[in-house]
Assembly symmetry: C2
Homo-oligomer: 209 residues x 2
Protein backbone atom coordinates (compact mmCIF):
# COMPACT_ATOMS: atom_id res chain seq x y z
CA UNK A 1 0.00 0.00 0.00
CA UNK A 2 1.21 3.45 -0.88
CA UNK A 3 2.00 5.62 2.14
CA UNK A 4 0.54 8.65 0.36
CA UNK A 5 -3.09 8.10 -0.53
CA UNK A 6 -3.89 9.72 -3.83
CA UNK A 7 -7.36 11.14 -4.35
CA UNK A 8 -9.30 9.35 -7.09
CA UNK A 9 -9.34 12.37 -9.42
CA UNK A 10 -5.56 12.72 -9.27
CA UNK A 11 -5.18 8.98 -9.91
CA UNK A 12 -7.46 9.29 -12.93
CA UNK A 13 -5.32 12.18 -14.18
CA UNK A 14 -2.15 10.12 -13.83
CA UNK A 15 -3.76 7.29 -15.80
CA UNK A 16 -4.85 9.70 -18.54
CA UNK A 17 -1.44 11.35 -18.77
CA UNK A 18 0.27 7.98 -19.06
CA UNK A 19 -2.20 6.87 -21.74
CA UNK A 20 -1.62 10.10 -23.69
CA UNK A 21 2.16 9.69 -23.45
CA UNK A 22 1.98 6.12 -24.69
CA UNK A 23 -0.39 7.04 -27.51
CA UNK A 24 1.92 9.84 -28.68
CA UNK A 25 5.02 7.63 -28.63
CA UNK A 26 3.24 4.81 -30.45
CA UNK A 27 1.67 7.05 -33.10
CA UNK A 28 4.94 8.79 -33.98
CA UNK A 29 6.52 5.36 -34.33
CA UNK A 30 3.74 4.14 -36.62
CA UNK A 31 2.86 7.10 -38.86
CA UNK A 32 5.75 9.52 -38.29
CA UNK A 33 5.83 12.84 -36.49
CA UNK A 34 4.41 14.93 -39.35
CA UNK A 35 1.21 12.85 -39.53
CA UNK A 36 0.75 12.59 -35.76
CA UNK A 37 -2.01 14.95 -34.60
CA UNK A 38 -3.47 15.92 -31.22
CA UNK A 39 -6.77 14.42 -32.47
CA UNK A 40 -5.02 11.14 -33.29
CA UNK A 41 -3.31 11.01 -29.90
CA UNK A 42 -6.60 11.74 -28.12
CA UNK A 43 -8.48 9.03 -30.04
CA UNK A 44 -5.82 6.43 -29.33
CA UNK A 45 -5.54 7.37 -25.65
CA UNK A 46 -9.34 7.32 -25.23
CA UNK A 47 -9.57 10.92 -24.02
CA UNK A 48 -11.12 14.08 -25.44
CA UNK A 49 -8.72 16.34 -27.30
CA UNK A 50 -9.60 19.18 -24.88
CA UNK A 51 -7.94 17.09 -22.15
CA UNK A 52 -4.71 17.20 -24.13
CA UNK A 53 -4.97 20.91 -24.94
CA UNK A 54 -5.58 21.64 -21.23
CA UNK A 55 -2.20 20.11 -20.31
CA UNK A 56 0.04 20.66 -23.34
CA UNK A 57 0.34 23.42 -25.97
CA UNK A 58 1.53 21.12 -28.82
CA UNK A 59 2.29 17.55 -29.85
CA UNK A 60 5.99 18.29 -29.36
CA UNK A 61 5.24 19.21 -25.72
CA UNK A 62 3.36 15.91 -25.25
CA UNK A 63 6.34 14.01 -26.63
CA UNK A 64 8.85 15.88 -24.44
CA UNK A 65 6.70 15.16 -21.38
CA UNK A 66 6.51 11.48 -22.33
CA UNK A 67 10.32 11.28 -22.38
CA UNK A 68 10.60 13.15 -19.07
CA UNK A 69 8.17 10.68 -17.52
CA UNK A 70 10.18 7.76 -18.92
CA UNK A 71 13.45 9.23 -17.56
CA UNK A 72 11.88 9.77 -14.11
CA UNK A 73 10.65 6.17 -13.99
CA UNK A 74 14.07 4.83 -15.08
CA UNK A 75 15.77 6.90 -12.34
CA UNK A 76 13.27 5.61 -9.77
CA UNK A 77 13.93 2.01 -10.86
CA UNK A 78 17.70 2.57 -10.63
CA UNK A 79 17.20 3.95 -7.11
CA UNK A 80 14.97 1.04 -6.07
CA UNK A 81 17.54 -1.51 -7.30
CA UNK A 82 20.22 0.32 -5.30
CA UNK A 83 22.45 0.69 -8.34
CA UNK A 84 23.93 3.95 -9.57
CA UNK A 85 22.09 6.24 -7.12
CA UNK A 86 19.63 8.66 -8.80
CA UNK A 87 20.58 7.22 -12.18
CA UNK A 88 24.14 8.47 -11.65
CA UNK A 89 27.28 7.05 -13.22
CA UNK A 90 28.97 4.37 -11.12
CA UNK A 91 32.33 5.15 -9.55
CA UNK A 92 34.41 1.98 -9.25
CA UNK A 93 37.64 3.97 -9.34
CA UNK A 94 38.17 2.82 -12.95
CA UNK A 95 36.92 5.68 -15.15
CA UNK A 96 37.25 3.85 -18.48
CA UNK A 97 35.18 0.90 -17.25
CA UNK A 98 32.51 3.15 -15.72
CA UNK A 99 32.19 5.28 -18.87
CA UNK A 100 32.06 2.25 -21.17
CA UNK A 101 29.25 0.79 -19.05
CA UNK A 102 27.02 3.86 -19.33
CA UNK A 103 27.88 4.68 -22.94
CA UNK A 104 27.15 1.10 -24.03
CA UNK A 105 23.77 1.44 -22.30
CA UNK A 106 23.24 4.72 -24.19
CA UNK A 107 24.00 2.90 -27.46
CA UNK A 108 21.36 0.29 -26.60
CA UNK A 109 18.79 2.98 -25.74
CA UNK A 110 19.41 4.95 -28.94
CA UNK A 111 19.17 1.78 -31.03
CA UNK A 112 15.94 0.62 -29.33
CA UNK A 113 13.30 0.39 -32.10
CA UNK A 114 10.53 1.06 -29.56
CA UNK A 115 11.70 4.64 -28.95
CA UNK A 116 13.90 5.48 -31.93
CA UNK A 117 11.28 7.25 -34.07
CA UNK A 118 9.89 9.54 -31.31
CA UNK A 119 13.41 10.32 -30.03
CA UNK A 120 14.47 11.32 -33.54
CA UNK A 121 11.29 13.38 -34.03
CA UNK A 122 11.71 15.27 -30.76
CA UNK A 123 15.41 15.96 -31.40
CA UNK A 124 14.74 17.14 -34.97
CA UNK A 125 12.02 19.49 -33.71
CA UNK A 126 14.49 20.94 -31.21
CA UNK A 127 17.03 21.48 -34.00
CA UNK A 128 14.66 23.79 -35.89
CA UNK A 129 12.57 25.19 -32.98
CA UNK A 130 14.71 27.10 -30.44
CA UNK A 131 11.98 27.23 -27.76
CA UNK A 132 11.33 23.49 -27.80
CA UNK A 133 15.07 22.88 -28.14
CA UNK A 134 15.75 24.89 -24.97
CA UNK A 135 13.08 22.94 -23.04
CA UNK A 136 14.54 19.64 -24.29
CA UNK A 137 18.05 20.62 -23.19
CA UNK A 138 17.05 22.12 -19.84
CA UNK A 139 14.69 19.39 -18.69
CA UNK A 140 16.10 16.24 -20.32
CA UNK A 141 19.60 16.52 -21.80
CA UNK A 142 21.54 18.81 -19.44
CA UNK A 143 20.62 16.86 -16.27
CA UNK A 144 22.00 13.73 -17.99
CA UNK A 145 25.21 15.54 -19.01
CA UNK A 146 25.64 16.75 -15.42
CA UNK A 147 25.86 13.11 -14.26
CA UNK A 148 29.03 12.80 -16.36
CA UNK A 149 30.33 16.10 -15.00
CA UNK A 150 29.87 14.75 -11.45
CA UNK A 151 31.76 11.54 -12.30
CA UNK A 152 34.58 13.44 -14.02
CA UNK A 153 34.91 15.82 -11.02
CA UNK A 154 35.18 12.81 -8.69
CA UNK A 155 37.88 11.51 -11.04
CA UNK A 156 39.76 14.79 -10.68
CA UNK A 157 39.57 14.52 -6.89
CA UNK A 158 40.87 10.95 -6.96
CA UNK A 159 43.62 11.78 -9.46
CA UNK A 160 42.13 9.74 -12.35
CA UNK A 161 41.37 12.82 -14.47
CA UNK A 162 43.80 15.62 -15.32
CA UNK A 163 43.29 18.65 -13.07
CA UNK A 164 43.31 21.05 -16.04
CA UNK A 165 40.40 19.32 -17.84
CA UNK A 166 37.12 21.24 -18.01
CA UNK A 167 34.55 18.52 -17.14
CA UNK A 168 31.76 20.26 -19.09
CA UNK A 169 33.93 20.19 -22.24
CA UNK A 170 35.12 16.64 -21.53
CA UNK A 171 31.56 15.30 -21.34
CA UNK A 172 30.91 16.47 -24.90
CA UNK A 173 33.96 14.58 -26.17
CA UNK A 174 32.37 11.42 -24.73
CA UNK A 175 28.69 11.90 -25.54
CA UNK A 176 28.66 13.98 -28.73
CA UNK A 177 30.38 11.39 -30.97
CA UNK A 178 27.65 8.85 -30.13
CA UNK A 179 24.86 11.39 -30.65
CA UNK A 180 26.46 12.54 -33.93
CA UNK A 181 26.75 9.03 -35.31
CA UNK A 182 23.19 8.20 -34.29
CA UNK A 183 21.55 11.45 -35.43
CA UNK A 184 23.32 11.64 -38.78
CA UNK A 185 23.70 7.86 -39.31
CA UNK A 186 27.29 8.25 -40.56
CA UNK A 187 28.36 4.77 -39.42
CA UNK A 188 26.90 2.01 -37.20
CA UNK A 189 26.49 2.90 -33.51
CA UNK A 190 27.90 -0.09 -31.62
CA UNK A 191 29.37 -1.04 -28.24
CA UNK A 192 32.78 -1.28 -29.94
CA UNK A 193 32.42 2.33 -31.05
CA UNK A 194 31.46 3.47 -27.52
CA UNK A 195 34.58 1.72 -26.18
CA UNK A 196 36.80 3.31 -28.87
CA UNK A 197 35.45 6.81 -28.07
CA UNK A 198 36.24 6.33 -24.37
CA UNK A 199 39.74 5.02 -25.10
CA UNK A 200 40.56 7.83 -27.56
CA UNK A 201 39.12 10.54 -25.28
CA UNK A 202 40.96 9.34 -22.18
CA UNK A 203 44.37 8.78 -23.78
CA UNK A 204 44.24 11.64 -26.26
CA UNK A 205 45.26 11.71 -29.90
CA UNK A 206 48.65 13.36 -29.56
CA UNK A 207 51.89 11.36 -29.63
CA UNK A 208 53.75 14.22 -27.96
CA UNK A 209 53.58 15.63 -24.42
CA UNK B 1 37.10 34.50 -71.18
CA UNK B 2 36.24 30.99 -70.15
CA UNK B 3 38.32 28.32 -71.89
CA UNK B 4 35.26 26.03 -72.11
CA UNK B 5 32.44 27.67 -74.07
CA UNK B 6 29.11 26.66 -72.66
CA UNK B 7 26.16 26.34 -75.02
CA UNK B 8 23.44 28.92 -74.35
CA UNK B 9 20.89 26.37 -73.18
CA UNK B 10 23.29 24.92 -70.65
CA UNK B 11 24.18 28.42 -69.42
CA UNK B 12 20.48 29.19 -69.01
CA UNK B 13 20.10 25.95 -67.03
CA UNK B 14 22.98 26.92 -64.74
CA UNK B 15 21.39 30.31 -64.14
CA UNK B 16 18.03 28.71 -63.35
CA UNK B 17 19.57 26.16 -60.99
CA UNK B 18 21.45 28.86 -59.12
CA UNK B 19 18.30 31.00 -58.87
CA UNK B 20 16.33 28.01 -57.55
CA UNK B 21 19.03 27.23 -54.97
CA UNK B 22 19.09 30.82 -53.76
CA UNK B 23 15.30 31.03 -53.62
CA UNK B 24 15.12 27.82 -51.55
CA UNK B 25 17.81 28.98 -49.08
CA UNK B 26 16.21 32.41 -48.70
CA UNK B 27 12.65 31.10 -48.29
CA UNK B 28 13.60 28.58 -45.60
CA UNK B 29 15.38 31.42 -43.77
CA UNK B 30 12.34 33.67 -43.99
CA UNK B 31 9.31 31.42 -43.47
CA UNK B 32 10.84 28.19 -42.13
CA UNK B 33 11.17 24.79 -43.77
CA UNK B 34 7.61 23.62 -43.05
CA UNK B 35 6.06 26.55 -44.91
CA UNK B 36 8.52 26.46 -47.82
CA UNK B 37 6.89 24.90 -50.90
CA UNK B 38 8.06 24.01 -54.40
CA UNK B 39 5.52 26.57 -55.67
CA UNK B 40 7.02 29.26 -53.44
CA UNK B 41 10.56 28.44 -54.56
CA UNK B 42 9.50 28.50 -58.24
CA UNK B 43 7.74 31.88 -57.87
CA UNK B 44 10.72 33.44 -56.12
CA UNK B 45 13.24 32.01 -58.62
CA UNK B 46 11.11 33.14 -61.57
CA UNK B 47 10.77 29.65 -63.04
CA UNK B 48 7.84 27.31 -63.58
CA UNK B 49 7.36 24.70 -60.89
CA UNK B 50 7.68 21.96 -63.54
CA UNK B 51 11.30 23.10 -64.01
CA UNK B 52 11.93 22.27 -60.36
CA UNK B 53 10.08 18.94 -60.48
CA UNK B 54 12.09 17.97 -63.57
CA UNK B 55 15.36 18.27 -61.63
CA UNK B 56 14.49 17.47 -58.01
CA UNK B 57 12.00 15.10 -56.32
CA UNK B 58 11.42 17.28 -53.21
CA UNK B 59 12.22 20.57 -51.50
CA UNK B 60 14.73 18.69 -49.31
CA UNK B 61 16.55 17.58 -52.48
CA UNK B 62 16.67 21.21 -53.72
CA UNK B 63 18.15 22.28 -50.39
CA UNK B 64 20.75 19.51 -50.38
CA UNK B 65 21.77 20.44 -53.93
CA UNK B 66 22.06 24.10 -52.91
CA UNK B 67 24.51 23.14 -50.16
CA UNK B 68 26.48 20.87 -52.50
CA UNK B 69 26.77 23.74 -54.98
CA UNK B 70 27.93 26.07 -52.19
CA UNK B 71 30.54 23.53 -51.01
CA UNK B 72 31.82 23.05 -54.59
CA UNK B 73 32.21 26.81 -55.06
CA UNK B 74 34.02 27.17 -51.72
CA UNK B 75 36.42 24.37 -52.68
CA UNK B 76 37.03 26.02 -56.07
CA UNK B 77 37.77 29.36 -54.36
CA UNK B 78 40.16 27.67 -51.92
CA UNK B 79 41.93 26.07 -54.89
CA UNK B 80 42.13 29.35 -56.80
CA UNK B 81 43.64 31.14 -53.78
CA UNK B 82 46.22 28.35 -53.50
CA UNK B 83 45.38 27.71 -49.86
CA UNK B 84 44.52 24.35 -48.41
CA UNK B 85 44.34 22.47 -51.73
CA UNK B 86 40.87 21.13 -52.59
CA UNK B 87 39.51 22.66 -49.39
CA UNK B 88 41.79 20.35 -47.41
CA UNK B 89 43.10 20.98 -43.92
CA UNK B 90 46.46 22.76 -43.82
CA UNK B 91 49.51 20.82 -42.64
CA UNK B 92 51.98 23.16 -40.97
CA UNK B 93 53.38 20.34 -38.85
CA UNK B 94 51.50 21.72 -35.83
CA UNK B 95 48.31 19.68 -35.58
CA UNK B 96 46.68 21.73 -32.80
CA UNK B 97 47.10 24.98 -34.74
CA UNK B 98 45.81 23.44 -37.98
CA UNK B 99 42.75 21.92 -36.31
CA UNK B 100 41.91 25.12 -34.44
CA UNK B 101 42.06 27.06 -37.69
CA UNK B 102 39.53 24.85 -39.49
CA UNK B 103 37.28 24.28 -36.48
CA UNK B 104 37.09 28.03 -35.79
CA UNK B 105 36.06 28.48 -39.42
CA UNK B 106 33.42 25.78 -38.91
CA UNK B 107 32.11 27.68 -35.87
CA UNK B 108 31.80 30.83 -38.01
CA UNK B 109 29.98 28.93 -40.77
CA UNK B 110 27.53 27.30 -38.36
CA UNK B 111 26.81 30.63 -36.68
CA UNK B 112 26.32 32.47 -40.01
CA UNK B 113 22.71 33.81 -39.93
CA UNK B 114 22.56 33.67 -43.75
CA UNK B 115 22.69 29.86 -43.79
CA UNK B 116 21.75 28.78 -40.25
CA UNK B 117 18.03 28.16 -40.87
CA UNK B 118 18.43 26.05 -44.05
CA UNK B 119 21.35 24.12 -42.55
CA UNK B 120 19.22 23.29 -39.50
CA UNK B 121 16.25 22.37 -41.69
CA UNK B 122 18.28 20.02 -43.88
CA UNK B 123 19.98 18.36 -40.91
CA UNK B 124 16.67 17.90 -39.07
CA UNK B 125 15.12 16.32 -42.17
CA UNK B 126 18.03 13.89 -42.34
CA UNK B 127 17.51 12.99 -38.67
CA UNK B 128 13.97 11.75 -39.36
CA UNK B 129 14.29 10.69 -43.04
CA UNK B 130 16.90 7.92 -43.51
CA UNK B 131 17.02 8.25 -47.32
CA UNK B 132 17.68 11.99 -47.28
CA UNK B 133 20.02 11.52 -44.31
CA UNK B 134 22.11 8.99 -46.27
CA UNK B 135 22.34 11.38 -49.25
CA UNK B 136 23.36 14.22 -46.93
CA UNK B 137 26.10 12.12 -45.33
CA UNK B 138 27.40 10.56 -48.55
CA UNK B 139 27.52 13.71 -50.67
CA UNK B 140 28.21 16.47 -48.14
CA UNK B 141 29.30 15.35 -44.66
CA UNK B 142 31.54 12.31 -45.19
CA UNK B 143 33.77 14.04 -47.81
CA UNK B 144 34.37 16.81 -45.23
CA UNK B 145 35.14 14.28 -42.48
CA UNK B 146 37.62 12.56 -44.81
CA UNK B 147 39.66 15.79 -45.00
CA UNK B 148 40.27 15.41 -41.24
CA UNK B 149 41.10 11.72 -41.70
CA UNK B 150 43.73 12.68 -44.30
CA UNK B 151 45.29 15.29 -41.96
CA UNK B 152 45.30 12.86 -39.02
CA UNK B 153 46.93 10.14 -41.16
CA UNK B 154 49.64 12.61 -42.20
CA UNK B 155 50.08 13.33 -38.49
CA UNK B 156 50.57 9.65 -37.83
CA UNK B 157 53.23 9.46 -40.54
CA UNK B 158 55.07 12.46 -39.12
CA UNK B 159 54.81 11.18 -35.55
CA UNK B 160 52.41 13.92 -34.34
CA UNK B 161 49.50 11.51 -33.82
CA UNK B 162 49.62 8.25 -31.86
CA UNK B 163 49.99 5.26 -34.15
CA UNK B 164 47.19 3.35 -32.37
CA UNK B 165 44.58 6.07 -32.99
CA UNK B 166 41.79 5.24 -35.45
CA UNK B 167 41.58 8.45 -37.54
CA UNK B 168 37.90 7.90 -38.40
CA UNK B 169 37.06 7.72 -34.66
CA UNK B 170 39.36 10.64 -33.85
CA UNK B 171 37.63 12.94 -36.34
CA UNK B 172 34.35 12.46 -34.48
CA UNK B 173 35.95 13.54 -31.18
CA UNK B 174 36.89 16.80 -32.90
CA UNK B 175 33.83 17.54 -35.03
CA UNK B 176 30.92 15.98 -33.10
CA UNK B 177 31.20 18.22 -30.00
CA UNK B 178 30.80 21.32 -32.19
CA UNK B 179 27.90 19.81 -34.14
CA UNK B 180 26.25 18.64 -30.89
CA UNK B 181 26.49 22.07 -29.26
CA UNK B 182 25.19 23.79 -32.38
CA UNK B 183 22.37 21.34 -33.18
CA UNK B 184 21.07 21.06 -29.62
CA UNK B 185 22.04 24.59 -28.50
CA UNK B 186 23.33 23.31 -25.15
CA UNK B 187 25.86 26.17 -24.72
CA UNK B 188 27.31 28.91 -26.96
CA UNK B 189 29.41 27.72 -29.92
CA UNK B 190 32.54 29.90 -29.84
CA UNK B 191 36.17 29.93 -31.01
CA UNK B 192 37.20 29.37 -27.39
CA UNK B 193 35.12 26.19 -27.34
CA UNK B 194 36.68 24.95 -30.61
CA UNK B 195 40.14 25.52 -29.10
CA UNK B 196 39.17 23.71 -25.87
CA UNK B 197 37.85 20.69 -27.82
CA UNK B 198 41.12 20.44 -29.77
CA UNK B 199 43.22 20.74 -26.59
CA UNK B 200 41.16 18.14 -24.69
CA UNK B 201 41.06 15.72 -27.63
CA UNK B 202 44.79 15.91 -28.33
CA UNK B 203 46.01 15.64 -24.72
CA UNK B 204 43.33 13.28 -23.44
CA UNK B 205 41.38 13.38 -20.21
CA UNK B 206 43.28 10.78 -18.24
CA UNK B 207 45.90 11.72 -15.65
CA UNK B 208 47.39 8.22 -15.81
CA UNK B 209 49.31 6.46 -18.58
Amino acid sequence: MSPHRTPDSSRRSDRSRRAIHEAALALVGEVGYARTTIEGIAARAGVGKQTIYRWWPSKAAVLLDAFLDMAARQAAEADASGGGGEGGIPDTGDLATDLKLVLRATVDELNDPATEAPTRALTAEGVVDPVLGAQFVESLLEPQLQLYVTRLRAGQESGEVRADVDPRVAVELLVAPLAHRWLLRTLPLTHAYADAVVDHALRGLSARG
